[in-house]
Subunit: 206 residues, 2 copies
DNA sequence: GAGCGATGTGAGAGGCTCATACATTGAATG
DNA sequence: CATTCAATGTATGAGCCTCTCACATCGCTC
């Protein structure tokens, strides 16, 4: 009782689940998804190796919870970035930049969210991703003049472009990710503009 | 001598390194990169758990060798696809389709090559990837009228777009990857065309 | 204030990576 | 041929990880 500082002098932790998610993101940032281990997360929260399994079914469930947290941060990042943007074209293009910046800022976290092969196919994570894309649907509609198929196709393409730039960045194709992040984000945004422009053309003469 | 069938009745395997790469691709296809283990590869080649380490420094080295093999197949796939294509615009757009098809066909293999977080940062793999991109440089030059910066930027964008579609596909965003692969490849190609079109415009008035 | 459900501990089974010492073999050499 | 050697495979084991299970401890409810 009276947990003076952060409350782990007591037998019960207080909020182990949240603490685990926090340190999971830390660890994943430091050593990547592959380097992550539940045991290490337990160690950092000063808890026995078995304790995490009271809150998460297995390693992947913990990673999924962490991924969910990242998706919230990504969403916030994008919403902040488009807050003052009016034109639907720019709102769309901005997404690419946000995704690239998120990749650079969250690193491991981004990897967690979007790397194929990471078993974060948890339903919550899937819907979180979908909801993020849906945020852009209205803008896409405006751009392609209310054509449903074209709007979805455009969003797909934009999403693909953004993810692609992000993976190229993290892959180190452009050099040290931290250094070139802002630059790459700008180029991604520019390419997104080109794509939007090209798409309206295509949908017009299609 | 005279290894009647596949040569594993003998003490020495014959070509363990190649066999390991082969089963590694199989395993990765079945259970993903994360599910892969050197031990399982050893089991499938009917060899002791330590044997693979005679040929590959560690788990990642074996995965890198497998990734190299995949990069060869991707290259072949693309070269076949563009064999009869003349226009540089179409040669560029075709790449996107090839990458998506490769992702669908090789699955785990693709993941191995391009998933962030997979430590395939082996120099050979990196250069293999670069060489693949360089295959497209001439076409890019033609499209943007010899402007170096623009050509590189266009290739980046195309690469990003292709990878993005591929990861979306494997992510299951479009449904069962096997079923929708051809469809998605077509859409990726179309988006690539839009991007190429949009890029020439941009580079013209820039 | 007694009991109960939730949460954490400790020990351990089974699997994996990788190192090290030893066995086997094909090929080169005398 | 017989020998030797480097390459290749085996056996063993240390250390780590995931996940389970019986047990300890705590906060809350009645």
């Amino acid at each position: 009782m009276a947990p003076s500082c952060k409350g782990r002098a007591t037998y019960h932790h207080g909020d182990l689940a949240a603490a685990l998610v926090r340190v999971t993101l830390e660890i994943v940032d430091e050593v990547g998804v592959r380097g992550f281990s539940v045991a290490e997360a337990a160690r950092r929260t000063r808890v026995s190796p078995g304790a995490p399994y009271r809150h998460f079914a297995d390693r992947d469930a913990l990673l999924a919870a962490a991924a969910l947290e990242v998706s919230r941060r990504l969403r916030a990042l994008y919403l902040e970035a488009v807050a003052t943007v009016e034109s639907p074209q720019e709102r769309l293009a901005t997404m690419a930049g946000s995704v690239v910046r998120a990749a650079a800022r969250f690193r491991g976290g981004y990897e967690l969210l979007y790397a194929p092969g990471v078993r974060t196919a948890h339903p919550d994570v899937v819907t979180a991703k979908r909801e993020f894309v849906d945020l852009l649907l209205p803008s896409a509609f405006e751009v392609v003049s209310e054509e449903h198929g074209a709007a979805v196709a455009l969003l797909e393409a934009l999403q693909a472009l953004a993810r692609g730039y992000a993976t190229l960045l993290l892959d180190g194709v452009f050099g040290d990710p931290d250094e070139v992040a802002e630059d790459v984000a700008a180029r991604a945004t520019r390419s997104a503009r080109a794509l939007v422009a090209g798409s309206s053309v295509t949908s017009a003469d299609d």
